[in-house]
């Protein structure tokens, strides 16, 4: 209960609050003796209620004069959703279309399509929080995990800048994991890894990197989704084991070995092989559906003026008092008695 007042100089008037209990609230009617008046519980309660209403009227009016307001606060709420860190591959290959056609100007590039669909994904979720990391040769810290969707949308728009050659998946993931580790509220984290592969044999992890990623993934219990933007070429399965005789190393088949590495982490992991805009859309919808873990999020409630409420309470109490006054009566008095009293 964080309430403050704008003008505290009126608050000393609160000293008037016990007044109704000291001074008569109703016109008194003289009677020879109280012994003849029956004892009555409703009357006593009503008597107290009238005094209390008068006190409330004074208190509420004084507080209203002081113009109270509730402090801005953030309320912790629980909803279903996730804390998703979007890790986007900003390598040069992402500026190509799905069919690796660099020059077809009327087709949408992979990054444009991915950003458009991700923005749509962000717009559809209400309580999810997002962080954004871009990576090429080095990771770029774009946006920490936040519930401000406008900021997320802007960060995703910024991803449309032209790409840089080079792809360093390990550093990008590491930055995303640190981002999760640094955010105490990220209770149900997930990493959405948007990449098209095309690492050219250069991008795979060193042994140290593998170890640190493995530890970090297990520690944060992070879900991992790989949105793999790569068209199927014929019936070649880039993730499957090569035919016998061909070399099966991270250098020759980096996508297959990254996939194997992710599978070996022992976390919730899925790969969505998206080879068309429609497939990406389905993948995003699937991720949205999967990430329904409980999350706590904080809702900011701005400072609020409650003067009107105080006035309303005071008015209501006054209304009760007016009703009591209207009900007020006395013992019958003859007109000539009134005259005598007035003249004497």
């Amino acid at each position: 209960m964080n309430y403050m007042v704008v003008e505290p100089r009126f608050l000393w008037l609160l000293l008037l609050a016990p007044l109704p209990f000291l001074a008569p609230t109703l016109r008194r009617a003289s009677f020879p003796t109280l012994d003849a008046v029956p004892k009555d519980l409703p009357s006593s309660l009503l008597s107290f209620a009238i005094k209390a209403a008068a006190a409330v009227a004074i208190i509420a009016a004084v507080i209203a004069l002081a113009r109270p307001y509730r402090l801005a606060q953030s309320v912790k709420l629980l909803a279903t959703g996730a804390h998703v860190v979007i890790v986007i591959d900003r390598s040069l290959s992402m500026d190509f279309t799905l069919n690796d056609d660099e020059t077809a100007s009327n087709a949408e590039s992979k990054i444009k399509m991915a950003v458009r669909l991700l923005k749509d994904f962000v717009a559809r979720t209400e309580h999810d929080e997002f962080g954004v990391v871009a990576f090429s040769t080095a990771p770029v810290f774009v946006l920490p995990i936040t519930g401000h969707h406008a900021a997320v949308q802007a960060a995703l728009t910024a991803m449309l800048q032209p790409g840089i050659p080079g792809t360093n998946v390990g550093l990008g993931l590491e930055l995303a994991l640190r981002m999760i580790a640094r955010d105490p509220h990220a209770t149900s984290p997930a990493i959405l890894f948007v990449s098209d592969g095309e690492y050219g044999g250069a991008g795979f992890f060193s042994v140290d990197m593998q170890e640190s990623l493995r530890t970090a993934f297990r520690k944060e219990n992070t879900h991992l989704y790989w949105l793999f933007l790569r068209p199927h070429k014929g019936n070649e399965d880039i993730l499957a084991a090569p035919p016998p005789g061909q070399e099966d190393t991270p250098n020759t088949k980096p996508e297959r070995h990254i996939d194997l590495f992710f599978k070996s982490l022992g976390i919730t992991y899925r790969i969505f092989w998206a080879d068309s805009p429609r497939a990406i859309q389905d993948a995003v919808a699937e991720i949205n559906h999967l990430e329904t873990r409980p999350v706590t999020y904080f809702e900011q409630i701005p400072r609020k003026d409650v003067t009107k409420l105080a006035y309303a309470i005071a008015a209501f109490a006054c209304l009760l008092l007016v009703a009591a006054k209207l009900l007020e009566t006395g013992f019958a008095r003859a007109p000539q008695v009134e005259r005598w009293t007035a003249s004497s």
Binding site: F31, D40, S43, L327, E328, F331, V337, W340
Partner: protein, 283 residues
């Protein structure tokens, strides 16, 4: 006949004692009056009242003398409760009503040649409200003046029990005027102190405090005697309860008075001299 000239007829229960010739049947004999009996001349040697017929008729030749009842004057006293509860003003002002009654009693006593006295009591007997019984005409206006300038100030009427000391030894007709807003035990103590006198209790009441109660509303009732107050939410159910309680109190008060001689007279709202006379002659 207005109350300015109205008189109240009253009659003491027993024959009067005393020496002042007046209007009431006395205990002694003598003088002109209603025939009482015959006694022998030896018993009352008064030759003026020899009854010749009876004397001549009597074979034993006794001389008879007629005796007549002596008419005597009595003394009236009004013992008045001057406690603060008598300040109640409703249909009438109680103190004005009591003043009117006392003036009327003084006038009536004067017309019959009786003495009238007034003893005002609040917490004790008020020295400045004490009129020993007198026969003179000026008493009536003196009493009226005293009442006109008087406002009750004290909280209780305990002095009523001390008033008997001011009445003297002979049996008197005493009007005990109060609203009797006190415990019954106190009323009984007062009646006991006045036991040798002929007490006429007069209950001063007002329809505003008895029957004309409002049936709905809030009243902040202030006790005239103690100054305490209490809010009462009047409604038909409570009004019924209140009236029942008042009737119960009235009944027990009447019962008490009855056991000490006379039922009470209700002086309510206005003084009706005729009604009071009838009450006095009937009981």
């Amino acid at each position: 006949m207005t109350n300015a000239t109205a008189t109240i007829s009253y009659r003491p229960r027993q024959r009067a004692e005393g020496v002042v010739i007046g209007a009431h049947r006395g205990r002694g004999t003598g003088g002109p009056g209603v025939f009482l009996d015959h006694v022998s001349y030896l018993h009352q040697p008064d030759p003026r009242r020899i009854d010749l017929r009876l004397t001549l008729r009597d074979p034993f030749e006794t001389i008879y003398v007629r005796r007549y009842e002596q008419r005597l004057a009595i003394a009236l006293y009004a013992i008045v409760d001057l406690s603060r509860s008598m300040r109640f003003e409703g249909t009438a002002r109680k103190m004005a009503l009591v003043g009117e009654l006392c003036v009327c009693l003084a006038r009536s006593a004067h017309e019959l040649g009786d003495a009238f006295g007034l003893i005002g009591c609040d917490a004790r007997v008020c020295d400045d409200f004490l009129f020993p019984a007198r026969r003179d005409r000026g008493l009536e206006s003196e009493v009226a003046r005293r009442f006109a300038s008087f406002v009750p100030e004290r909280a209780n009427a305990d002095g009523l029990a001390d008033a008997a000391a001011y009445l003297g030894g002979k049996r008197k007709l005493v009007f005990l005027i109060s609203d009797f807003r006190m415990p019954l035990a106190k009323v009984e103590a007062v009646l006991q102190s006045l036991a040798r006198h002929d007490v006429v209790p007069i209950v001063v009441s007002d329809s505003a405090e008895e029957t004309a109660l409002p049936s709905l509303g809030l009243i902040d009732v202030r006790d005239l005697e103690t100054g305490r107050h209490r809010v009462v939410f009047m409604r038909p159910a409570l009004r019924r309860r209140w009236l029942a309680q008042a009737a119960e109190w009235r009944r027990s008060l009447a019962q008490l008075f009855q056991s000490y001689g006379r039922p009470p007279f209700e002086l309510s709202d206005r003084l009706d001299a005729y009604e009071l006379s009838r009450h006095l002659l009937e009981t």
